[in-house]
Symmetry: C2
Subunit: 189 residues, 2 copies
């Protein structure tokens, strides 16, 4: 039941935005009442938190692979694999990524109240640490940020723009584009 609530909440949150989405509507879609939700989650915020953890789990393994490299600069070699992974994950979990992107403020305020800051080692912070790593040339870091933005920006609104094109075809073109984007970076100082 917890999972059913989370699935439905994800739907409603994406339709109205987290703030304007009401627990009443979530409950109604599940055929129960508001109070029933409070048996499974203490606060509305906790529902969002669990969805955040879903998202976090998706990225953890990918970033762990990068982290285990001895030399952070080897990250460049691992980058294409990371991007491929990202493309797959966004394609398979677009709702989750959409929620995160379009409710940025809600997720930010989540971290303020978050009690378990110690263990959860936020996904975005790790990405930020990577993009600010001074041992990586600035030009490359900019291109890393570009590639992430390109993948996100293209796939997020994917269904509206490239909705009539097979997802695998878009993914392929996307990989090509990012390849060109990162490829020439190594040739520069």
């Amino acid at each position: 039941m917890r999972e059913r609530i989370l699935d439905t909440a994800l739907e409603v949150f994406n339709e109205h935005g987290y703030d304007k989405a009401s627990l009443r509507e979530i409950a109604e879609r599940l055929g129960v009442t508001k109070a029933a939700l409070y048996y499974h989650f203490e606060r509305k915020e906790d529902i969002l938190l669990q969805l955040h953890l879903r998202l976090h789990a998706l990225g953890r393994q990918a970033l762990d692979r990068l982290k285990d490299l001895d030399d952070p600069r080897d990250g460049l070699a691992a980058w294409p694999g990371l991007i491929d992974h990202l493309i797959d994950e966004i394609t398979n979990n677009r709702d989750l990524f959409l929620l995160h992107q379009r409710n940025h403020n809600a997720f930010e305020q989540l971290q303020d109240t978050e009690h378990h800051r110690a263990d959860h080692d936020d996904l975005e912070e790790r990405m930020e640490r990577l993009l600010t790593d001074p041992t990586i040339p600035l030009a490359q870091r900019v291109r890393m940020a570009c590639s992430i933005g390109a993948v996100m920006g293209t796939l997020m609104r994917g269904s509206e723009i490239f909705g009539d094109v097979p997802a695998t075809e878009v993914a392929e073109l996307l990989r090509d584009a990012v390849h060109d984007l990162m490829g020439t970076a190594a040739a520069r100082p």
Copy 2:
């Protein structure tokens, strides 16, 4: 005074998100009361609408330039100029773009209630029309979407990641990156 309200509202909206931002806080920062705001704007929604129009004005001229081309495929030649323009506009109006990106749902619900759909010819719709234009090869359209995502994604979180780097330097690297991204696209079928 209207402009002062809009400026302050933009600040508060970006700090707490549109939904959680209260008119009380906006009024307090201006040293007036809530009721005073209602003399200048009929509803909270109208404040957001005016900020939307500010954003819309920024993009209109750029897209108009593209629109006036006889052959839509000439858009490819004009694309680098459009991207340069976009980079400048985001750099000079980051708060406005941030508001739009991080409160997507609020802006969506804005259009539902919007009375003046006729004239306002939404910026996003025009961009979407361009990216779905079937006379442009799919590979190029994907790269157009990529370049927009790259610019947005990099500059939006710019102050947090590349905050210690001069904006002009980031912009320069960004232009290079987008150039490589679009450059090789022409060489493909």
